[in-house]
Every structure is written in C-alpha cells, then in structure tokens.
Symmetry: C2
Subunit: 553 residues, 2 copies
Amino acid sequence: MPADRRTRILIVGGGFGGVYAAMELERLLRKDPDVEVGLISNENYLVFQPLLPEVISGSIGILDTISPIRRLCPNTDLYCREVESIDLTTRTVTASSGFRPRPYKLECDHLVLALGTLTSFVNQPGLEEHALPFKSLGDGLALRNHIIHALEEADIETDAEMRRALLTFVVAGGGFSGVEAVAELNDFVRKVARSFRRIERGEIRVVLLHAGPLILPELPADLAGFAQRLLQRRGVEIRLNTRLAGATGETALLSGGERIPTRTLVSTVPAAPHPLVSALPCRKEKGRIVVDSFLEVPDFPGVWAVGDCAWILDSKSGKPCPPTAQHAIREARCLAGNLVAGLKGRPKRAFTFQALGKLAALGHHSAVAEVLGIKLSGFVAWLLWRTIYLMKMPGFDRKVRVAVAWFMDLLLPPDIVQLKTGNSPGFGREHFEAHEIIFRQGDRGDRLYIIVDGEVDVVREAASSVEEVLARLVSGECFGEMALVSDSPRMATARSATAVNLLTVDRDGFNALFSHYPPLRRFFQQVINDRLRPEGPAKAHPAANAGRDHPSS
Amino acid sequence: MPADRRTRILIVGGGFGGVYAAMELERLLRKDPDVEVGLISNENYLVFQPLLPEVISGSIGILDTISPIRRLCPNTDLYCREVESIDLTTRTVTASSGFRPRPYKLECDHLVLALGTLTSFVNQPGLEEHALPFKSLGDGLALRNHIIHALEEADIETDAEMRRALLTFVVAGGGFSGVEAVAELNDFVRKVARSFRRIERGEIRVVLLHAGPLILPELPADLAGFAQRLLQRRGVEIRLNTRLAGATGETALLSGGERIPTRTLVSTVPAAPHPLVSALPCRKEKGRIVVDSFLEVPDFPGVWAVGDCAWILDSKSGKPCPPTAQHAIREARCLAGNLVAGLKGRPKRAFTFQALGKLAALGHHSAVAEVLGIKLSGFVAWLLWRTIYLMKMPGFDRKVRVAVAWFMDLLLPPDIVQLKTGNSPGFGREHFEAHEIIFRQGDRGDRLYIIVDGEVDVVREAASSVEEVLARLVSGECFGEMALVSDSPRMATARSATAVNLLTVDRDGFNALFSHYPPLRRFFQQVINDRLRPEGPAKAHPAANAGRDHPSS
C-alpha cells in the first residue's frame, strides 16, 4: 500500500462487471493522479462467456474467447490472486499467497464487489464428483478433452455396454448455456466421429435434460420451439419436464428414477451465490447483495456491487435485473459514473437499462434471436449473432483473431487433439448409488478408498458364480489398500450397500506418502495384518477400527 | 484381438518415428485386407518438435504445433494409452487402464519400437522438483504459464530480493533446444513486460547456461558465434563452461558453486533412455536399442526399432545416426519398406541417410542455418527456416493454421493470458540445499512436510532476534502439521540443516484425508499431543517416532 493519501478504488472480481467498471473508471478519470484503481481477479483474463461453447468444438482458438485484463485496462493495478476474505467495514480484502505463503491485504476507500456466481452442486448427490461444470474457460477445455477421451476409449472398447455409456453425452439444463453447450457438443461429436475408425455415427447419443415443458424459457415460445425442433432434427434427444437428480461415475440419475448410463455428464445449472458473498454481513435478496439505485450497498459507505452478485432493481421498471453480460456491462458503467460523480461532487444517476435483445447459438450456422422486438431464426440469426459478438468482443486483436478463426473453421476440419494436463498424484472423490460395483475382483488396484458416508460390501465371487459377502464397511473405514501394497489384482469385489461417498488416494500418492513416512507405513501394515488375521481384532465401534477381518482388495 | 489370422503390426510410440512408420505402412499396404496396423501412443497427436519453442511466446496457436495422429494415418488403429510393459519374445504390449481399471494386452506379429527418449533429472539434486522440462507440448504450456505467473507476481511484489528472483529466467543447455527456447523466452518476456505497469524491462534477466566454450556445438563455429553474439545483443546473459549442478525452489546452483536466485529454471538436458527401453532384454549401446542395417532387433524376430530409442549405424558412413526428426522420418520410411518387403518376400534395404541441413531459430526474425553445405544467418535463414518447417509440417490444415498464425503474429501483440489448470489437491516434492528457509514463523500454514532424506532444524525467532533451535528432525519425520490442524500461522521457522528432500501434502489433501478417516486423525492428534508435552515421549530411533517435543509449526 502506498503511504500517500490518494483515493484508492478496489474492484473485486474479473468478470464483465469488474473489468468494465475498471475500463469505465479509466476513461472517466483520465489518469487522474489522485485516484488509484486496483482490480483483484483469480485469472488475468476476462472470459467472453457467449463464445465459451465454441471452445468445445474448437471452432475458435482456445485463447480467443478470453482477453487479457492488463490490455483492457492498462492503468489499473491488477492483482492476480484468489480473494480469501472481505471486510466491508474497514474495506479490506485479504488475498491468497503467491510464491511465498504470506497473506496479502489490500485496503481501499471504495470497494466494488463484482464476484459473480458459481456453479454449485451442493445437495445433488454425486454431481460434485462426477458432473462437469460449464462456466469457466478451464471447464470448457476440460469438457472438450473429456469428450475426446471418451471417443478414444469407445474406439477401442469391446464391451458393448461400456461402449454405449462412453458414446452417450448428457447435458442438464435447457436454458441459454445448456442449449448452446449441447448444440456445440452435438455438432462436434458427430463431426469428429468420422476420424474414429470403429465408431458409427448412429451409435452416438446426445441427451438434453430440461426441467420445463419447452427449452429456452428466456425466449418467446415460437423461437424456443424452433430451436427445439432444430436440435431434435440434428440428433439431440430432448427430455422435457425432467431434472437431473444425481450422478455416479457411470450414470445420470433422472428425477423420475430413470438412469442413463453415461461417462459424460455436463451440468449448466444451478448458479449459486459466491461463498464470499454469502459470508458478507450486508442485506441480501436470493443470495445477491442488495444495492440502492446508484449501486451502492446501504449501511456500508464506500461499498458498491455490480453484476450477477448484486440484487439490482431497474429504476424505471422496478424489476430485478437479470444476470446477463449485457446488464453487467451497463451496470458497471453506471457504477463507475456514480463513483466518479461522488469523488467530484457531481450528482449520481439511478440505474436503468432495457435489454436490446436475446441471442442463442444453435451450432452449425444456426441461431435464434430476438433483437429490438424482431424475432429471427436460422442462418440470418446466426450471422447476426456472429456480427454482434464480434463487435462486442473487447480488444481489437481479439476481434481479428476470432474473425480469422471463424473464417478458417469454414474451411478446415475440427481439431481432435486431446490436451492432457499433467495430473499430479493426489486425492479424488467418488459417489455411488446403492448396489453399484466400486471395483471388481481381478481389476487392477489403482487407488485406496476411504468411506466418507454410506456402507460398502466386500464380496468374493466364487467360480460357481455364488458370491460370499466377506464384510460390510461403514463410514470412516478404508478399503482397497492391499492391492496397492502388494501390486496385485483386486482379491474381492467392492459394492455399495447404500448410496456412498468415497475419498480416494491414488497409487502414486499412496506410495509417496507411505513409503516416506514410516509411522504411517506401520499404521497401514497394522491395518492389513488385522484384516488377514482369520479371527480379526475385537470389534469395537466400527469407525474406531480400520482393521477388519476381510481381504478387501 | 480379432480371431482371424491377419498379420498384425503394432507400433509403440507416437513421435516422428512411430507416426511416420504408420503413414508409410499405410501408403505401401494400400488397405491390404490381410494386414492390420496399430499404433499405441499416450497422446493422440504428434508434436512437431521444431515449433515447440513458439508455444512459449504464443506466436502460433497452442494446437498448431501438433497434429492428430488419426488424421495422419486414418487406416491405423490408434490406442491412446500409456505403455506399461513390453514382452519382446511373445511380442505382447500391456497398456494402462482406461475408464475401468483393467489392463489391456495387445499381441502382434511385428512390433515396432519407437519410444524416443525422456528428460531425466536423476542424480541432479532438486531438478526433478524445481526445474521445468521442455520436451512435450504440456511442458511448453506449463512453461508459458509459469513465466506469466512470475511476471504477475513480480508486478505486485514489494520485496526487492524476491522481485529479482521472479524476474530472473534461467535456461540450462546451449544445444538446439536450449538455444531456441531461450531465444523465444527472451523475446516473449521483454515484449510482454510492457503490459505490466511496475516492471521495467531493465529489471529482466535471462541467463543461458552452457557446458562448452561455444553454444550450438552441432553447428559450424562461425554460425554458432553469430548466434551467440545475436542472443547477447538481445539481452541474454550467456554463461559458458558452466553446468547446472542442482536447484532449489529459489535458486539455480551452478557447477562452480555460484547460485543464481530465480523462480524459473528450464532444463533442456539431459535426454535419458525411456525406462521401458532400459527394461528390455535386447542388446543396447548408450541406452539405445541396437538394430541391424534393416532396423530389425537381432535375436528377436519380428521386432524392429526406430528413432531416438534405436542405435542405428548408417550403412554408408558406419556412424551412429543422430537423434533428430529428419533421421527419425527417414528411418521410419526405411523400416516400413523393409517390413512390407519381408511380408511380400521382396529384398530389404539397408538404412543410409545424409542430413540435408541444420536450422536453429533465434527468435524475432532471425535464425542460423547450414543447408546442403551453405551457411546462412539472420533474416534469410529465418525465412528459410519458416518455409522449410511449413512444408514439412504434416497435414494440410496444420500448414494453413500455422501460416495464418505466423501472419497474424506480425500484426498483433503477443498474448499474456495465463491458463491455469485446475490443480487437484495432492502431493508435492521439494528440495532444499543446506541452511535454507523452508518456511518462516508467521507464514501461513499451507502444507505438511515429510522428510524423505536430510535434516531440518525447527527454530523459534525471538523478539531480540536471538534464535532458539527447538529441534532437529530427520528422515521419516513430519513437520508443519500443527498450522494445518489449527489454521494458525506458523509458530516457528523450519530451516534445512543439510540438503533435504521433502514430500508435501497440501491443506486440501490433508483435510480431506484426515477428516474422513478417523484412525488417521487420531494418529496425527497423537503426533501433535506428543509434541506439545514439555518432556516429550521417550526417544527411540527418531524415524520410529514421529512425536517429538517441539512445536514445529
């Protein structure tokens, strides 16, 4: 922090609300030496959300959907860190550590909250573990790689059931982002399947789950109907009035109880408040920060909020503003104007904005649009969609890159390289519904399991196909360590007795930890020895006793 | 495996040797129904190594340096898996598991080994933990992100010493790949520094370490001298006759004992044999598989080897072939020809090839080249370099993409977005030389440490700046758990007493593991209780006793 008494403005969040507020402040302040603007964001770029679905198909370059924040607001101090806590009274933000483990505190005179929302899978069993979110650039890349991985595996899989699950792709949520995602996913999978020798296009199944009676509830019914028929014609199976109720590694569980075997489940719902927003002591409405008509937070002088994290009532219509980029940008400009007006002693302006229109891309040269009251669909809407977003894309170099990429996409085949990120050894989480196989006798032992909650049966399959239940394990017990220690195939099958949540430690992690820390190694050896003793140890409360009389792995 | 008796050819490895062998086999066999060609590779793309340095600066798109193998050899069965073991006698390859933990076995009549080499940091203390390799596409992306991360941190760092380390970039190895990497790195860092408000270009230090008296030993001395002077003029500090001896998280250790404080250390040496090759029972020379003049492995009928993993003597000159892409491609074609000749009962051909030339790009429109005996340097060599590689780039769509990217690079500023890959909670490794700070009293507790080897002092710093050594910890002990359990700052400083290797478990991993597995939680609570007892437990062999009488965290 500088020691001088310049006015410090700190913006928290690097989405449309935060970055456009910084851009507008720079424009209005014109390098005013008495004001400093800072922005803290966990990424050093702004994601241009409307183009994110195109990352799936790679029709634009991976980096083309994002703009470096430093280039958009060159006179703003960018702090590329995670926010750990916010104090509204002292207007202090604590950021995560950098290369050294030291907390980093930032104080300011004006604090602008632009934290957006997060995808939250809380209370939906198995989604946290097995569903793919679709909100950040990282999500888009991970989904793309996952799809290619599933196709690679399907191409060499001989088991018919497994093959079907690998070639089934389920997207939950029929709003804008779900529809745009499923459209791109469907186009991409069907197009690139040609490059896989043993995959027939007819084998591919793409399913869209939607809770309501018609997709795209944000649009007029006739446009939504057009979109729905178009997607169906292109092979998307649309399941209306159906919610995603849960997931395991192998199935999507639908609200009616039906299960769809799949290895690729994308969920675009629901958006939940950012935990930092939930922790704030100010007044909230539906989890969003209540602001006055000037976008200031009541009772906390110098604190402002903008974008999806704010509960903003339009000053003309009195209605709450929807969480769209169009609104966030206008709100950010209004906020910056009011903030500067306050500094200069000029009057503030109440926020009002009428959305110009709504656009949804449907993949392969189609879209639906409602712009200034006019409804468009098909190719014309698609051209309009591209033109509008190209104009709105911040940064000149981005516009050029996207335009070139779109042009090349018309000529060249889509990419099918799978960019694996080097996954470090570590921990994982898995969810199983009742009566599912966790691993099979004879499988390779690739991880240790710890039961977070639920119960698991350890079963020995005999040659006569009669099975023998060796043990029932409960919360706080571990299993599967023996195949890791001995590097042999699994000696028994593990099957969930109830719905179960598991924590896993992979082979590399297990080996590193237990080979270098003798006390832990002795601890696990004791666990194994107890299991192998025919009579087993005295049975106290199960959670107090990891050693049980069964070969579980 | 199909039950019929078609001839099966299996290629192991997806580099130039493997992919070009598959392409040539497809060409020669012309969809012969009696022969099946398979290729197993851990990535589904071929990396065009010569363009890899451009990934650092982003002057070509991330995906432009790689070509999907499926498109290059559409009639080959691609198995996108890791190879786990190879049996030369039965010609059986075991691959890693896919979505299910089942081993995957592939048998064949002809086995082509094209495993290449790996970067190996064995026997160089600290390199495995702290040096960045530069061989795969993943390495290139990781390096690029690391550089941007260092710049982001330097921009907001106030500690002068830390700032210097963040702005110092060290590349070890003055051969082709080291020189091309340092040239791109230097250009990129100096160019993008403009976008960081508080970084002066004069603060940036880029160092190239080279073991010999002149860089680029592969080239004639006058061209190497030209390259050396050019890099120096552009600000690269070249340290000749200097080897990298080791590394910690904060310094590069040079052979003479000097230390360069840096947070970015790239090592392009040495290339080591693939562990799978080392495990093979056939004859080897310098770790490479010895083959006859037809590229067959003696004593193992039906086994062939090609590329960097093979020890190939040129049949005219009698000299071993260098490990270059040019050679791998020619070897692959010769091998494919001989394999098909064997199938059809035609005569085989001994391998010979005279390299056409050598090219090294020096960044920013410069290169050095020796082509067909003619020496070129500067802009002309650079134009030649681009033209040749564009022609050699496999796949038409790739040629177009690279050409367009190069053209745009002339017009648009380089990209500075940092693509973070979501790193899962997990384990890490760290190396410290003697008398270095591992963490400081007051730091945030972000991980648990386990001593693999070496010794660590736990030190309490008093207000009078007199320090008190609380304990000395040895191999097999852990420290730092207390700040994790209590979520408080470090209560003491940990400092290496000798050179030390550490295994770390991060906060998320620690919490997940110990909160869900009560026996382990009780185990660690006991460790902590023992430490807090003023007298401590009876001292047996230290490694046998994780509980010690000191507050280590």
